[in-house]
């Protein structure tokens, strides 16, 4: 849990403010922009800190509850801090029948985190499962940043982690 709190403190108010201003200016200030603004905020900060949600609600003249509702509904949003890199293990059907569940277990064991929760001790990684990344022909697939790893077996995970460690 300590890593959670540490990362939380990293949110710099000035940085947040300038990021938000930049993002807000790109969209009309109405409800239909909500999801896209949240996406951009997350892209910038890697997660959605409560301060950011407050600001988004103010800007769009929506209740904070409404913004929270949308942020928790969609899988794309993370309301807890994430590691510097997010390892996404595809759980599509093609990946599943080719052994993707084993990959999640193995990643969890090696990183000491749960899929969807927690950051590895060195702050480098979070682990997430994705329903389908649409790379079914290269199943099982693992995506880190914009790099796709194809035909990943449990014996390849150590190499991937070592290569990706920032």
């Amino acid at each position: 849990m300590s890593t959670l709190i540490e990362t939380r403190n990293v949110v710099d108010t000035n940085e947040l403010q300038s990021a938000l201003e930049r993002i807000f200016s790109a969209y009309p200030a109405d409800e239909s922009s909500l999801i896209m603004i949240l996406q951009d905020v997350q892209e910038e900060l890697n997660w959605l800190p409560p301060e950011a949600l407050d600001a988004v609600a103010d800007h769009l003249h929506l209740s904070r509850a409404k913004v929270q509702g949308v942020a928790t509904f969609y899988r794309a949003f993370s309301l807890i801090p994430r590691g510097k890199k997010v390892i996404k293990v595809c759980q599509g059907t093609a990946c599943h029948v080719r052994g993707a569940t084993m990959l999640v277990d193995e990643f969890e064991r090696r990183l000491g985190v749960h899929a969807g929760y927690g950051i590895s001790e060195d702050g480098a990684f979070s682990l997430e499962t994705v329903n389908c990344v649409g790379a079914c022909a290269m199943a099982p697939a693992v995506v880190i940043g914009d790099h796709y790893y194809a035909n990943v077996g449990p014996d390849k995970l150590k190499k991937i982690i070592d290569k990706e460690r920032p």
């Binding site: 109405d30 409800e31 239909s32 922009s33 909500l34 999801i35 896209m36 949240l38 996406q39 509702g69 949308v70 509904f73 969609y74 899988r75 794309a76 949003f77 759980q91 599509g92 059907t93 093609a94 990946c95 599943h96 029948v97 080719r98 052994g99 084993m102 277990d105 193995e106 064991r109 090696r110 994705v130 329903n131 389908c132 990344v133 649409g134 790379a135 079914c136 022909a137 290269m138 199943a139 697939a141 914009d146 790099h147 796709y148 790893y149 194809a150 077996g153 449990p154 014996d155």
Partner: protein
């Protein structure tokens, strides 16, 4: 080739421009097409492209001497997915249809110096037939059954054109249908043409597109929206991704033609957030089309105006459902509503809305250009045209295929797909995503169209086709889909929300080895309730993966319950790994085991400590001597040599 496109203020300016493009293209002799689809680019195809350019630059003098001036007579480009992802990275050379597979950046020089300069084929890069078909090398992709047996309409330009380049689209019949519709057809004629073609929604439901459009026109007040559903959520399906990434202009052309027929002035493309490249390519296309006067106010000077925006999804499967998708565009939580409120009457912002999926929109330009009769001449009686499928799972040629409707599952999986990986026995094919079902060997002769598969307890769905072999546990697959759906059920109605949880608990009990026979009856009763009482299609179809596996693979459920046996060796609580006498004592598995559960010395039989073992399967994967077995229900369930399995054929 990607210079600035001028703004076309009328149709003849566009046709003059295309004529000039075609004249210039006549001097082109060779085209190198590097696949930059998701599979190939993951394996480094973009580097191959770079290396090809480096090599071309290095050999510029020789190439020019041969009359192959780079960029004029020798064009190199990155395209969308070529389809045969298993052979990736793929490079094709036109006009010879030469097909290079498993290309690495190091091969780039050989392709330029040998194939382009000396006109000799790089033998090692050619596609190799399977041993049982002779094992020879095949030069052209047109001679490989995987391609030869396909008929491409929606995927026609995917893998052919540079998806970022408007000129390239124009060179391949781009916007001819739009010009035809805007200048020589009335909106009613466009509606009639689409209606007559028999086109049905490719997103899964198969609702007749023409009928949907016509009913929207009937209720039209002052405004109608058009939406393109690019929220391809079915796991195991990536056709729409390939189309949006590989031929974005065609999707938009289809939408504009539809908007013209419907009298719509505004529309959205909703793309799931897992597809950032699709968003990028569509954004680029929209921007270029607006510059060229092909989108926006007064398109091609015809007086017709249409504006298109992209909305990115938030990663919710339920948003593939049309009413939930519309709520999501409005910036709301994506909850569907009951079906009696029709979107063509009250859709986006409670105004009449026509929503079709990516593949459906992409079929429209071809129908307008070539006519309804041409389209209706393909396919089966009630399902016209072609359908794209993502053929994946335990099949040899994983990738994208498009065939006329009505081809049998066997033709698609065995003739086009080349049969099962490692020639293992076929167990089932899963179609239709989480709303679909698993069909066994006995159903392989079923023709694939909207109605036939539904009658068999599955559905064609959006086109995901996941092949399963003897190492796939059908109870585990059912549990997989239910788990998927628990995460995706919006929670609005009880039968879906609670029914799924209960189903999962029962299935989990069975895969844990604690199941009872009466659980099977419970599953059936619960499934029935969900089918009847859920609010939207997600909940109504949610039990299908369970009911279809229970119908066709009941014996596997029974084995789990009565014998504690998972014959596929998948369900962890029911299996143990064991090293057999074929072990040579090579230490490979011992070193690979991440939890140090394997003991043994060099050249002596190794032993697995079952208590320490996490059943990760690494030992089995790394063993070169087939010495690791899976034991379940007291017997060895692993069959190393697939030829020893009883294959029904």
């Amino acid at each position: 080739m990607m210079g600035n496109v001028p703004k076309f203020t009328n149709v003849s300016a566009l046709s003059d421009y295309v004529l000039e493009l075609k004249n210039n293209a006549e001097s082109q002799k060779i085209e190198l097409r590097v696949c930059a689809g998701p599979g190939c680019s993951a394996l480094g195809s973009l580097q191959i492209y770079d290396e090809l350019l480096v090599s071309i630059d290095k050999n510029k003098k020789e190439l020019t001497q041969k009359g192959l001036k780079p960029e004029v007579q020798l064009v190199t480009k990155c395209t969308g997915c070529h389809g045969m992802c298993q052979a990736g990275p793929v490079v094709t050379l036109e006009p010879d249809h030469l097909f290079y597979t498993h290309v690495t950046p190091k091969d780039a020089d050989d392709i330029i110096t040998k194939t382009i300069l000396k006109k000799s084929v790089v033998e090692r890069l050619l596609y190799r037939q399977e041993p049982r078909k002779g094992g020879g090398r095949v030069r052209r992709y047109t001679d490989i059954p995987f391609y030869a047996l396909q008929k491409r309409i929606a995927l026609n330009r995917v893998g052919v054109i540079d998806p970022l380049d408007l000129d390239d689209y124009l060179l391949h019949d781009g916007f001819q249908a739009l010009t035809k519709a805007l200048t020589s057809m009335s909106p009613e004629q466009v509606l009639d043409e689409v209606d007559k073609s028999g086109l049905r929604g490719r997103g899964g439901a198969g609702f007749p597109t023409g009928r949907k459009w016509k009913s929207a026109v009937r209720v039209r007040k002052d405004r109608v929206w058009v939406i393109c559903n690019g929220d391809e959520g079915d796991p195991g399906a990536f056709m729409d991704r390939a189309i949006m990434e590989g031929d974005p202009y065609a999707v938009i052309e289809g939408i504009i033609i539809g908007a013209y027929a419907l009298g719509a002035t505004d529309g959205y493309i909703y793309v799931r957030h897992e597809y950032p490249l699709a968003v990028k390519h569509l954004e680029n296309a929209i921007q270029r089309m607006e510059q060229a006067g092909l989108l926006g106010d007064n398109i091609l000077g015809t007086g017709f105006s249409f504006h298109l925006k992209i909305t990115r999804g938030g990663g919710a499967f339920v948003c593939g459902e049309s009413s939930a998708l519309m709520r999501s565009i409005e910036g709301k939580v994506g909850e569907p509503r009951a079906k009696y409120v029709r979107s063509v009457e009250k859709g986006l912002h409670d105004e009449p809305t026509v929503l079709n999926n990516v593949e459906t929109w992409t079929c429209v330009p071809s129908i307008i250009l070539k006519g309804a009769e041409w389209f209706a001449s393909m396919g089966s009686e009630k399902s016209k045209g072609t359908k794209a499928f993502s053929l994946v799972g335990k099949v040899k040629h994983t990738g994208l295929v498009e065939v006329p409707m009505g081809r049998t599952l066997r033709e698609i999986i065995f003739d086009i797909g080349g049969g099962l990986l490692d020639d293992r026995p076929f167990k089932a094919v899963q179609t239709g995503g989480p709303s679909g079902g698993c069909l066994p060997y006995e159903q392989l002769s079923l023709p694939v169209d909207f109605d036939t598969l539904t009658n068999a307890g599955a559905m064609m769905g959006s086109g995901g086709m996941i092949v399963m072999d003897d190492r796939t546990c059908m109870v585990d697959v059912a549990k997989y889909f239910i788990k998927f759906l628990i995460g995706e059920s919006c929670g609005k109605c009880v039968p879906c929300r609670e029914g799924l949880r209960q189903l999962y608990d029962i299935l989990d009990k069975i895969t844990d080895g604690d199941g009872e026979m009466e659980d099977l009856d419970k599953i059936e009763r619960l499934s029935h309730t969900m089918e009847v009482a859920s609010l939207c299609a997600l909940g109504k179809s949610a039990p299908f993966p369970v009911t279809s596996t229970l119908k066709y693979f009941r014996e596997e459920y029974v084995e789990h319950i009565t014998m504690g046996k998972c014959r596929a060796g998948v369900c962890k609580p029911l299996i143990e790994y064991n090293i057999n006498k074929d072990c040579t004592g090579c230490l490979v598995c011992k070193r690979a085991c991440p939890v140090e559960a394997i003991s043994g010395e060099k050249k002596k039989l190794h032993v697995i400590d079952v208590d320490k073992c996490t059943r990760c399967g690494i030992c089995m994967e790394v063993c070169n001597f087939e010495a690791v077995d899976i034991i379940s229900g007291g017997e060895i369930v692993t069959i190393h040599d697939p030829s020893l399995v009883n294959v029904k054929d």
